[in-house]
């Protein structure tokens, strides 16, 4: 018999209980209540640009296929033949007119519809119902600025528009670093990491301002000396923000105009001004931020980071490098170099983060020391004109933010 956990007590405003990172029962609740019943990131439209394109990914533990049909409709279907449970698509991505299960030859359309089976005459009248035997589709699929979200088993209680309301200005900014407002995700490389600890550590860690001067002292030193990176710990650093519904933000810096001209070449700034207008262009270019779309996506300067739980104590992290459509080659090459400098498995930043996450996995085995603390700056938070709570960028407002939505979804799920 299962006892309902008290998620208000386990995920408090200023601390989380270590069982949230260790307990298989909590993990199962998270799958059921968050990963199968709320908005989950699955792909960016630029990954499947043409009819017939597909990409496989995961929603929680469930393998899914994201497809583009002949009519340009985007579908998310569970990668599981309805006959005997075999994954119908064995590849990471590709282009196909249909998916044919290689076990017994059942063929499914890009929208999951069952089109044909092999040796159909072996089925008697009433034994094979084509209508009910399509691949199972996600209940809801929607996108914003090309970012595709889906909800697997039920229609979420909030619209995607509402879910993203508090952070749309940052998503828009991310895209508008391109002079034409479009990005290409993953064509320029995908880093595939994993670590031996719970997925939420990466969600929290993707907006970490506090750790940076400690864990990344050696990397920041080089970025400031060699890469024209402003020293955000000496004046440019801005804020950590709760963007609502678990989404949250680390604004790394917001530069004055003269620093924008140091950060970016004039050719790029001029092109941005020509395409976006001066005010918009400068607004975009002065910012650098890490934005978490709870629970499994983070937009960082040059990457879409996708967090995939693989059980309570193992996590895969994929970093899909992003390129700016119609930006000067020099700018996209700089995005390549700066990204690999910090994030590759041999880089100057990322490996140190994953060392910390692995060590968190070790330390958190000590359940008799129960609390993970997120109370830094809780007494000095302010609220902006949109009602969003924010604090200094090295405070922990952004780490507290996901747990408001976590509590809401975990409690909501217990009622259904």
């Amino acid at each position: 018999m299962t006892v309902e956990r008290d998620y208000d007590d386990l995920a408090r405003i200023d601390r989380t209980h270590v069982s949230l990172y260790n307990d298989q029962g909590v993990y199962s609740d998270e799958m059921e209540r968050i990963f199968y019943r709320s908005w989950i990131y699955v792909a960016h439209e630029s990954e499947i640009p043409n009819p017939g394109d597909y990409k496989t990914t995961f929603m929680g533990d469930v393998p899914v296929i994201v497809t583009r049909s002949e009519n340009n409709e985007i579908n998310v279907v569970i990668n599981r033949c309805t006959h005997r449970g075999v994954a119908v698509c064995p590849l990471e991505k590709g282009n196909t007119p249909s998916f044919v299960c290689q076990y017994h030859g059942w063929e499914f359309g890009m929208d999951g519809e069952l089109l044909a089976v092999s040796m159909p005459r072996g089925y008697n009248e009433g034994e094979l119902d084509f209508k009910s035997l399509g691949l199972v589709s996600a209940k809801k699929v929607e996108s914003y600025r090309g970012i595709i979200f889906a909800s697997l088993l039920s229609v979420p209680d909030i619209s995607l528009d509402e879910k993203l309301r508090g952070v749309k200005e940052y998503i828009d900014m991310y895209m508008d670093f391109s002079p034409v407002g479009e990005i290409v995700v993953g064509n320029s490389g995908v880093n595939k990491h994993y670590y031996n600890a719970n997925w939420k550590i990466q969600t929290e860690g993707s907006v970490e301002g506090y750790h940076a001067p400690v864990t990344h002292a050696t990397a920041f030193d080089i970025m400031i000396r060699k890469m024209g990176m402003p020293d955000n710990y000496q004046g440019y650093g801005t804020k950590g923000m709760d963007g609502g519904y678990g989404n949250n933000l680390l604004e790394v810096y917001s530069l004055p105009d003269e620093a924008v001209y140091k950060r970016w070449p004039a050719e790029y700034i001029d092109l941005m001004i020509e395409k976006h207008g001066k005010e918009r262009a400068m607004h975009v270019l002065r910012h650098r931020f890490n934005l978490v779309i709870f629970p499994n996506l983070a937009l960082l300067e040059y990457q879409f980071r996708v967090i995939r739980p693989m059980g309570v104590d193992k996590t895969e992290v994929r970093m899909y490098h992003t390129m700016l459509k119609d930006a000067p080659d020099e700018i996209n090459t700089r995005r390549v170099r700066e990204h690999e400098f910090f994030y590759s498995p041999a880089a100057f930043g990322g490996p140190d983060d994953y060392a910390m996450f692995d060590r968190a996995g070790q330390g958190m085995k000590a359940e008799m020391v129960p609390w993970i603390l997120f109370n830094r700056g809780i007494k000095s938070e302010e609220v902006d004109e949109h009602g969003r709570r924010y604090g200094g960028h090295t405070q922990e407002t952004q780490q507290r933010a996901p747990y408001f939505e976590y509590r809401r979804l975990m409690k909501l799920g217990s009622q259904s």
Binding site: S188, G189, V190, N191, K192, H193, Y194, T215, A217, T218, A219, I222, K226, E316, H321, M323, D329, N332, T333, V336, R337, H339, E340, F341, S344, P345, A346, F348, P351, D352, Y354, A355, M356, D358, Q362
Partner: protein
């Protein structure tokens, strides 16, 4: 840099060079290893098995000019590269060596089998890692010594899930 077009290298000489290079890496003689590169050399681990991959349009695992390699070495020796606490032991095994000379540059293609281990970790049981790669060394002779103008290491799993490569390869 003047490369003598008549310079050739036998397979035995190429093997001697690669064995010596491997030995420096495995014994932690990093500063000596660094001296094997020319000033304008490239140290490159691509993220792709595609021989035509364009490193200006595709992320690499490592794409170091010598300035960046010096930063990498300095960081590894600083004690503040946390992923390297404790540090890796490595064993580079070199085989399938082939040599050719193109426009005065000696090109050595080889296979690398790399074992990596980290002892004395608090969590214990660090698995002995095995990696496989294709290497391409480009050499020229400077002041009577063979120097690398380029070292390219293409891991068999370069585009796969990788735990950590915070050591020198």
């Amino acid at each position: 840099m003047s490369a003598n077009n008549s310079e050739q290298m036998t397979r035995a000489e190429a093997e001697d060079f690669l064995f010596a290079e491997a030995c420096l890496l495995d014994q932690g003689e990093v500063n000596e290893w660094r001296k094997l590169f020319t000033a304008d050399a490239l140290y490159w681990l691509p993220y792709s098995r595609d021989v035509n991959v364009d490193p200006t349009k595709h992320v690499s695992i490592i794409y170091d000019d010598m300035e960046m390699l010096d930063e990498r070495i300095k960081r590894l020796q600083s004690g503040a590269c946390h992923a390297q606490i404790p540090g890796s032991r490595t064993q580079h095994s070199v085989n399938n060596v082939r040599v050719k000379t193109v426009d005065g540059v000696v090109i050595i293609d080889s296979y690398l089998t790399l074992h990596e281990y980290r002892a004395n970790r608090q969590d214990r049981f660090y698995p002995l890692q095995t990696m496989a790669a294709n290497c391409e060394h480009k050499l020229v002779k400077q002041d009577g010594e063979w120097k690398m103008t380029s070292k390219k290491v293409v891991l068999l799993n370069c585009d796969g899930e990788i735990y950590d490569l915070s050591f020198l390869i």
